[in-house]
Amino acid sequence: MAEKSIHISLSAEQIGTLWGIPITNTMLMSFAVFFLLVALTFFVRRKLALIPGRLQTLVETLFVGILDYMTETLGNEKLARQLFPLILTIFLFIFTANIIEFTPGIGSIGWANAHGEFIPLLRSMNTDLNTTLALTVIAFIVIEVAGVATLGFLRYGKKFVNVSSALGFMVGIIELFSEVARLVSYSFRLFGNIFAGEVMIIVIQHFVPIVLPVPIMLFEVFVGFIQAAIFALLTLFFVKMAITEAH
């Protein structure tokens, strides 16, 4: 039996180029998630009625629950309504990508390249730092914009550049660092969790191909849910921190 070593690539595999843009398997996966969510949207929307069906009741309950929670957290209904689409889309996008990551075919259908390395056609979306970083940048921009829009540029800037005292100045610098470090922590948290899960499953599959991967996959789906929730909730909390004036 020819024992093959496990091949793990940190970066997503490129499967082609279109107009100078490299097409990676995670990019295809994110398109798939996009179309899945859009299809679900139209499925829900088609049956939208004043007297709701079961699916609509579920969707409405979720939406209203999330919106109420956001209103409670932000203490501002208008801002909550404005941010609701972003927070929920972040959650749905990451969550959908994470729960379909073990769908048969994803990661297993592909071909070998010139070096004999296996190139899967689809790869779990969040195992590419590009995706998580893109989401992080969007969240980061929204957080800063929300802060500036709510407090005004000067009052928001005072959080980071505070010359009233030496201690205040130091705190401001630390704040600034932690603000920027968020970009890294955000994107790597999601990437690391999902990537580690994938690697763990690959390793376990290598040694015990049947039965054992199933509970691990179940756990990874749970992790996927948690990570999606964390990403969305942290965005919400950081917005809350951004719109709260420094003491």
């Binding site: 990019m27 996009f34 859009v38």
Partner: protein
């Protein structure tokens, strides 16, 4: 830094594509899912609010109607009692009048009867007296005629 970016396959083009993808998803979900669903929830909430208000209004009106009904019944009862009372009083006075009338009439009739009886008796006595007188004359005549014959 360059190496780290390379290891993780970071590529600004990919970043932009992912951002556009997410932005597009956000837009589509916002237009076709969040907005209509939340609008539907709001519409329903308004409807329910109105329905509850209507129900409260109806309840209030029902209460008013009940009170009105009770008031009307009370008034009607009172009025009915009044009518019965006055009818009773009226009947009592009428009874007294009728009795008085009857009594008067009876007395009058009695008097009349007595008067008539007295008159009748007087007439009869007079008649009897006349008859006795006549009989006496006749008997005297008879006796006298018999006496004359004997002679």
């Amino acid at each position: 830094m360059e190496q780290i970016l390379d290891v993780f396959g970071i590529n600004w083009k990919l970043l932009v594509v992912q951002m556009i993808n997410f932005g597009l998803l956000l837009l589509v979900l916002y237009i076709f899912l969040y907005k209509p669903v939340l609008a539907m929830v709001d519409v329903r909430r308004k409807k329910i609010e109105r329905a509850i208000q209507d129900a409260e209004e109806a309840d209030r009106q029902l209460g008013e109607a009940e009170a009105e009904k009770a008031r009307i019944i009370r008034e009607a009862t009172m009025k009915g009692d009044d009518i019965i009372d006055s009818a009773k009083k009226h009947a009592e006075t009428s009874e007294i009048t009728i009795m008085k009338d009857a009594h008067q009439k009876a007395v009058h009739l009695l008097n009349e009867a007595e008067r008539r009886t007295a008159r009748d008796r007087e007439e009869m006595i007079q008649k009897a007296e006349r008859e006795v007188a006549r009989m006496a004359v006749l008997s005297a005549e008879k006796i006298l005629s018999q006496g004359a014959l004997k002679k």
